[in-house]
Symmetry: C2
Subunit: 280 residues, 2 copies
């Protein structure tokens, strides 16, 4: 919805296709239709009727069970190719689906950052708090771990506290990772002092950035606070910031830093300060 709003404000006509049971019902504020995962003919017709030439995919796909797919004669043609994609990480699945949509549906896939660059994290500190030297060391370690994991299409996030890697995200997602850190702290298995540790989230190397950029929102901040962390570091210009105003308010209230760190210059040694982090 945020992407649709930004694209509209920039003068684009938008038409939203929501996956039933997955997409936010708020897409109803725009011209839209609901489709089922696996449908081929209806979305193709709907996109043609609305004159869509570009497609921006928001959100990620976990591997669906076969029974949940609503194949039709149109999409069945791709079933074999899709089945092969199901073996492998999220990354391959999503980029494979994108390739089919480009080649077979004649759509141009565009990234959210192209149609709505203002939704991306800027470089620098969002809100009132900035990372300390200790946090910067943790950010460096986190980035190094995520780069090492890059070839494997695993998660996009780690939690590092005092140079110690407390958690690595895989199928559980970032919320699951933060929940776990909070629980490990509660049961005394993680004993680093509260207010130490950073959630580091960056895109996978080689990831198609038109698809599935990492995202944070106010809930990420709240969960990071519950996990006792000092803050959150994301890749500048390559991370979606949902509800930036609420995110900055949550960070200030919880005394957490949220920082966009420039890639190839990670982390920025003297991050600038932005009143609202998500606006470039």
């Amino acid at each position: 919805v945020q992407v649709a709003e930004a694209a509209s404000e920039r003068g684009r006509a938008v038409f939203l296709l929501g996956l039933q049971g997955i997409a936010d019902p708020a897409i109803a504020r725009f011209p839209h239709a609901w489709i089922k995962l696996g449908e081929g003919r209806r979305p193709r017709k709907l996109l043609a009727e609305h004159g869509c030439r570009e497609l921006c995919i928001i959100g990620n796909l976990t591997r669906p069970s076969l029974g949940s797919l609503s194949f039709d004669w149109d999409s069945l043609r791709f079933a074999g190719r899709l089945a092969r994609l199901f073996v492998g990480g999220d990354n391959r699945l999503l980029s494979g689906v994108a390739r089919i949509l480009e080649n077979e549906y004649g759509l141009k896939i565009v990234g959210a950052q192209e149609v709505a660059p203002e939704i991306l994290a800027a470089a620098g500190t969002f809100g009132r708090h900035a990372p300390a030297q200790r946090d910067i060391a943790d950010i460096r370690t986190g980035v190094a771990v995520l780069r090492a994991l890059g070839p494997f299409d695993i998660g996009q996030a780690v939690v590092v506290a005092d140079q110690y890697v407390l958690g690595v995200e895989a199928a559980e997602g970032t919320d699951g990772l933060l929940d776990r850190i909070a629980e490990l702290r509660r049961i005394g298995r993680v004993r680093t002092a509260p207010g130490v540790g950073v959630l580091v989230k960056v895109p996978k190397p080689g990831q198609d950035r038109r698809l599935d950029l990492p995202a944070i929102g106010p809930r990420t901040v709240e969960m990071a606070a519950r996990a006792g962390l000092a803050g959150i570091a994301v890749a500048a210009h390559a991370t979606v910031v949902a509800s930036p105003v609420a995110l900055v308010a949550a960070a200030d209230a919880a005394k957490l830093f949220v920082a966009g760190v420039a890639e190839d210059n990670l982390p920025a040694d003297a991050p600038g300060t932005h009143a609202s982090g998500a606006r470039a």
Copy 2:
């Protein structure tokens, strides 16, 4: 206790020092004493009184809170060095403690595999079930992920299903990792068919193998079964197998494979079969 039994059978005199609240009360079957984490003088005296020249450390240390340490004038001399070790992974903490014990206490640190080689996993399949081709591909991926993570002193285990990395172990430990996979499957976030996926567990590269070898036991098998996995792969000759008879029985009952894979030849393409996996 298993190491003590094996070392005794091999004709060694053993004396056990148990960390209060951490070690198995069953150490009482051997000459033993209980010490507190942080004590220096008492364990030094006890070891001298019992003529100990070699020390075998079993189990791992998570970073203790300062308040839980019982420093005395003896151990306080090393407090500065210990504090520096607390910044960094488990691996550095444990090897740093070992170095202090070697240099300051004049003890020779020996690995469990030296005093009780029969506790280590042999190469090949334990019990009735063997990995299928699909499992072997998952084992290869798991080993590659763990090698990439090696420099960071993180976990020693991953779960891979159909080439997709479902989970990476860090501070939560192997039990925590398997619990999470079971839960992600229960809530439908992991959708690979039951009976697909492997727990892969290998020592960290560069790890001091006298300390903290990976370990599996019957409980690991039960938890892997609950997580819906096909089996468990460990590094042969570098993994402690606790209660091997019960472990093989649990694996057979749950129709799981447990395989020791030879390093630098990972995984063995045609693993041999051993009636009891832990006996070489």
